[in-house]
């Protein structure tokens, strides 16, 4: 039987839906203690969670935090009610785990100086090929506050009100930090 384009599109859409449903079933299986189902979930989502952890805290802590997120997810699977996609639920959990560690990490790295001077330091680095930072590295060099707001808003799509709630600041501060971060990153676009 020859397949028409709409039939192929329908089949692919159904396969996508089946994949989502299979993930939902994996969540149910994992919540019942099925390690293989949980490993499938891990493999589907680890890249996004690890990238989030790396951008929020830096490369040195990303592996530890990613492990923490999945260990925490395993223990909290029974609380997942399916109102949102599993990936959304996991991402929220990851943000909470990462932010809970930020005080310790910030103190260890001495990176709580969110002053204009620090931001200027990121922005005014020389433009030679040797010294030019790539965009990811430039994000990592931002001060903690500006970096967290930038990652949550511009990469992860959170709103200022949500960010303010997560970080314990007011929305106006979140807007200001975001603008400073963007201004600092302008020179690392190439």
């Amino acid at each position: 039987m020859e397949l028409t384009t709409p039939r192929v599109a329908t089949l692919r859409r159904d396969l996508d839906q089946a994949t989502r449903d299979a993930e939902t079933a994996d969540v149910a299986l994992a919540a019942s203690g099925d390690g293989r189902a949980f490993e499938r979930l891990y493999r589907s989502h680890v890249a996004r969670i690890h990238s989030l952890a790396q951008r929020m805290t830096g490369e040195d802590h990303a592996d530890d935090l990613t492990q923490d997120v999945f260990v925490r997810a395993w223990s909290k699977l029974s609380t997942f009610r399916g109102e949102a996609a599993f990936g959304t639920w996991l991402h929220r959990l990851a943000v909470n785990v990462i932010l809970a560690r930020r005080t310790t990490l910030g103190t260890e790295r001495g990176r709580y100086d969110d002053s204009e001077n620090v931001l200027d330091g990121v922005a005014s680095r020389p433009h030679t090929a040797e010294l030019s930072l790539d965009f990811e590295a430039a994000i990592e060099r931002l001060p903690d506050g500006a970096r967290q707001v930038f990652v949550l808003h511009d990469i992860e799509g959170y709103r200022h009100e949500e960010i303010a709630d997560l970080l314990g600041i007011v929305p106006g501060t979140s807007k200001s930090q975001l603008h400073h971060a963007r201004m600092a990153l302008r020179r690392h676009l190439e």
């Binding site: 396969l15 019942s32 493999r43």
Partner: protein
């Protein structure tokens, strides 16, 4: 470059400026080339941020996570068993396991009630527990229905022998599920029967998933 409007450019870009300020800023932008250039740079920063790729960790973190949560890694199992199977082979293996498992259940049910292992005398599996989650879970039912639909639509792209084996074996697994459910109705606390039912339901899901993926992959 910095003027009174520079610090408002991000809010403008994000559509968060009040209407009156937005109109004033737009008038300013028409006259200020520096602000226009900065706005364009900010726009590119946002676009770049949204286009960043996610990358997995350079080392596999799963073994450490598996140790923490007390489960066995798939990689560890694969290292012990480097074999691959076709869908019919998997289906046949599933049915063999089903028959073996169903046979054990049948023998178990033929024994006097007092001699059956019960919740108090059988060690629960560390991997499969709380079978009620499978049986009553609408997500499981939705996943099975969805995979069955994909398989039905894609079955014309599987050869007939494969389809026949898959359908026959799904039928056997379904019968095993029904038998286990009937047995559990009479002995709900029996942990062996709970385990058996959960295994059959999971086996069905895995067989459907692989068969649907095979059917979908041949579009």
């Amino acid at each position: 470059m910095s003027d009174t409007w520079t610090n408002r450019l991000s809010e403008y870009l994000d559509g968060e400026l009040p209407e009156s300020e937005r109109a004033t800023l737009e008038a300013h932008l028409r006259a200020c080339a520096d602000c226009r250039a900065t706005l364009e740079q900010l726009r590119r920063v946002v676009a770049r941020a949204q286009a960043l790729d996610d990358t997995p960790p350079t080392t596999d973190l799963w073994p450490a996570i598996a140790r923490h949560v007390g489960v066995v890694s798939l990689d560890a199992r694969r290292a012990r068993r480097r074999l691959s199977f076709t869908v019919p082979q998997l289906a046949a293996a599933a049915v063999a396991l089903t028959l073996l498992s169903a046979g054990s259940a049948w023998l178990l049910l033929r024994r006097p009630a007092g001699a059956r292992p019960s919740q108090s005398t059988t060690t629960p599996s560390p991997i499969l527990t709380n079978v009620g989650t499978y049986e009553a879970n609408p997500r499981y039912a939705a996943a099975v229905a969805s995979l069955e639909r994909v398989l039905a639509q894609g079955r014309s792209r599987l050869d007939t022998a494969t389809v026949r084996v898959i359908e026959k074996n799904l039928g056997i697994i379904d019968r095993a599920i029904r038998d286990a459910q009937s047995a559990l109705a009479a002995d709900p606390a029996n942990s062996y029967l709970n385990l058996h039912l959960a295994q059959e339901m999971r086996r069905k899901l895995e067989l459907l998933r692989q068969a649907a993926a095979l059917a979908g992959a041949r579009t």
